[in-house]
Amino acid sequence: MNMVNAINDALDIKLAEDKSVIVYGEDVGVEGGVFRVTEGLQKKYGAERVFDSPLAESGIVGTAVGMAVAGLKPVVEMQFCGFIYPAFNQIISHATRMRNRSRGLLETPIVIRLPYGGGINALEHHSESMEAIFGHIPGLKVVVPSTPHDAKGMLIAAIESKDTILFMEPKRIYRAIKQEVADGKYTIPLGKANVLTQGKDVTVVAYGAMVREVQKAMVMAKEAGISVELIDLRSVYPIDRETIAKSVKKTGRIITVTEGPRTYGVGSEISQIALEEAFLHLEAPPARVSGYDVIVPLPKGEHHYMQDAYKIFYEIEKTVKY
């Protein structure tokens, strides 16, 4: 099963189980979404529960806020990360504030699905990775799966949560990874990182499509005799300080691998955690592999921007030899 199938499976399970789950967005109904993530769901559950909305992102998230306070559980799709900005106001001004504003009387259990990230030869606005600006919003949870198995378990957990959750889907690996995914319902707790590989020389923290790039770099590292501990962060907020701290205390070195622009990025936050939690254990400055602080180039220039296994190995080597 690939990630598209796994997400579809999670939606299918929740739609079947819970009448209050509603799935909508641009082209998610008849067509099943531009990435076919919601394919077949309208046929199965009807156009009242799975439907095409007018083409307006603020409208989609704003109406989801209304549905949620009235007891529904909307799972909405933003077609691409680059198109979410009209909805930014509804996220930062309402979805993430209703509970606090009403002292807990109103809740907004909304899942906003957001295909994101580069490496797919796309048009302008279709390759961004802007999780850091969302991680900065109080009241929002921002999660990113890196495998079909995680995508299914995390999405079910997200739909069952009472919070507003930005569920970022690394579209570059939508169909790139296939794995066995358990049948039926299971959940993966949101906010907990996953140590994918134990190692002793350096901790590498990544998430989404970057996990696979790190795994490629680890083959090179192994040949060079370097033992890498790989953490899949899974959740940009809440951030799992404990897992990061424990690992960096063990390895003494930390590298973050993120797709978004560098400054004020997720890598910076993780480096700060390493400094606060493991200052006396550090043997090298925390390093960041990230996008540059530039606009993601169009396809012909994108290789200058995207991080690959070589760039990651390059930083691993530098950090270990520091």
């Binding site: 109406t63 509970r99 504003r101 807990g104 906010g191 951030i239």
Partner: protein, 363 residues
């Protein structure tokens, strides 16, 4: 009514004139006398409270406040029709409707004194808190409308916005979504002539605000918002239409903000005395009172005797709010998530350690 007053006809719906005289009996709603007097008293209570809040603000006992002065008929008419189970999605100038829904004055006071607790309505069901970002709340109204329709409930949503709000994208998206979904939402635009200092004619080149309904394929009507009976009738018919599945409805209520935008604003900079006097003649309370007096349902004497009681009650609730007590540090963290993330738990401890340290330093 919606046919005869189709916004393309460019007519404003009115029932009484400036002196409280009925213009056309056909449109006069049937309201029994006792109920009408109660409504008037509620309006009077709201106006008295509103004026009193401004004076509390001037005494430095409350923070910024947006007065309702001059717009009471709209909120009162909505308040009469809104049921406990209906939804209220306010902007921030609908005191009468909020009170009718069961929000207490004390809660409103707490909010404007700076306590979120003032938006944790104890009695008012299905009432959203005040929404500050202009027009953004109307999408919530459309979404609630969808939930009502989906659950096949017999409820209506009242969503409020001002004239300035009709320039925001969310206004258009909300009316459009509600129109496509055919949901039971009554959008009420309080056109009080100004968005802070900007006159309505600088918000839009449209002939009216009601006419925007036509483009979205929904029923719309322009109503004299200072004419209580016209507002009553328009909302009554809108509620009926919504309950029959003929929603949404867009009402433009033409009114005038007699006070400032908020207590931080000085309207003399952008309004003339002449204009204010012209609108004074259309004051909604005066018009309703003239009608009541002409029917011998009310008198100046009764008004004079009831006002001190109102003032006392308003003061009593204000003082209760003033004595509300301290704001615990934990409260700023508690409601961010359904379960508090470890990060926030750490931040509470950090804050408490700091407060402890500070208490040893501050003399």
């Amino acid at each position: 009514m919606f046919n005869e007053y189709n916004p393309l006809e460019k007519k404003m719906f009115q029932v009484i004139d400036n002196n409280g005289k009925v213009l056309d009996k056909k449109w006069m709603p049937k309201i029994d006398n006792e109920k009408l007097v109660t409504i008037y008293k509620d309006m009077l209570f709201a106006r008295t409270a509103d004026l009193q809040i401004v004076s509390y603000q001037r005494q430095g006992r409350i923070f910024t406040y947006p007065p309702n002065y001059g717009q009471e008929a709209i909120a009162a008419a909505a308040g009469v029709h809104i049921k406990d189970n209906d939804w209220l999605v306010p902007a921030f100038r609908e005191m009468g409707t909020m009170l009718a829904k069961g929000v207490s004055l004390k809660e409103l006071f707490l909010y404007f004194m700076g306590y979120e607790d003032g938006s944790a309505f104890k009695k008012a069901k299905n009432t959203l808190p005040i929404s500050v970002p202009i027009a953004s709340q109307l999408l919530h109204a459309a979404g609630i409308g969808y939930a009502i329709k989906y659950n096949k409930e017999d409820k209506v949503v009242f969503g409020f916005v001002g004239d300035g709000g009709t320039s925001e994208g969310d206004f258009h998206e909300a009316v459009n979504f509600a129109g496509v979904w055919k949901v039971p939402v009554i959008f009420i635009i309080q056109n009080n002539q100004y968005g802070i200092s900007t006159p309505t004619k600088m918000q839009t080149a449209s002939e009216s605000l009601a006419i925007k309904a036509v483009a979205y394929g929904v029923k719309g009507i322009q109503v004299d918002g200072n004419d209580f009976f016209a507002m009553y009738k328009a909302i009554e018919e809108s509620v009926d239409a919504c309950r029959k599945g003929e929603g949404p409805i867009l009402i433009e209520a033409v009114t005038y903000r007699k006070g400032a935008h908020t207590t931080s604003d000085d309207p003399t900079k952008y309004r003339t005395k002449e204009e204010e006097q012209e609108w004074e003649a259309k004051d909604p309370m005066k018009r309703l009172k003239s009608y009541l007096i002409s029917k011998k349902l009310w008198s100046e004497k009764e008004e004079d005797s009831i006002l001190p009681q109102f003032k006392e009650e308003i003061d009593r609730q204000f003082i209760e709010a003033e004595n509300y007590g301290p704001y615990p540090a934990e409260d700023i963290f508690k409601y961010m998530y359904s379960e508090m993330p470890d990060d926030l738990k750490d931040q509470i401890s950090e804050h408490e350690r700091f407060l402890q340290w500070k208490s040893t330093k501050v003399k």
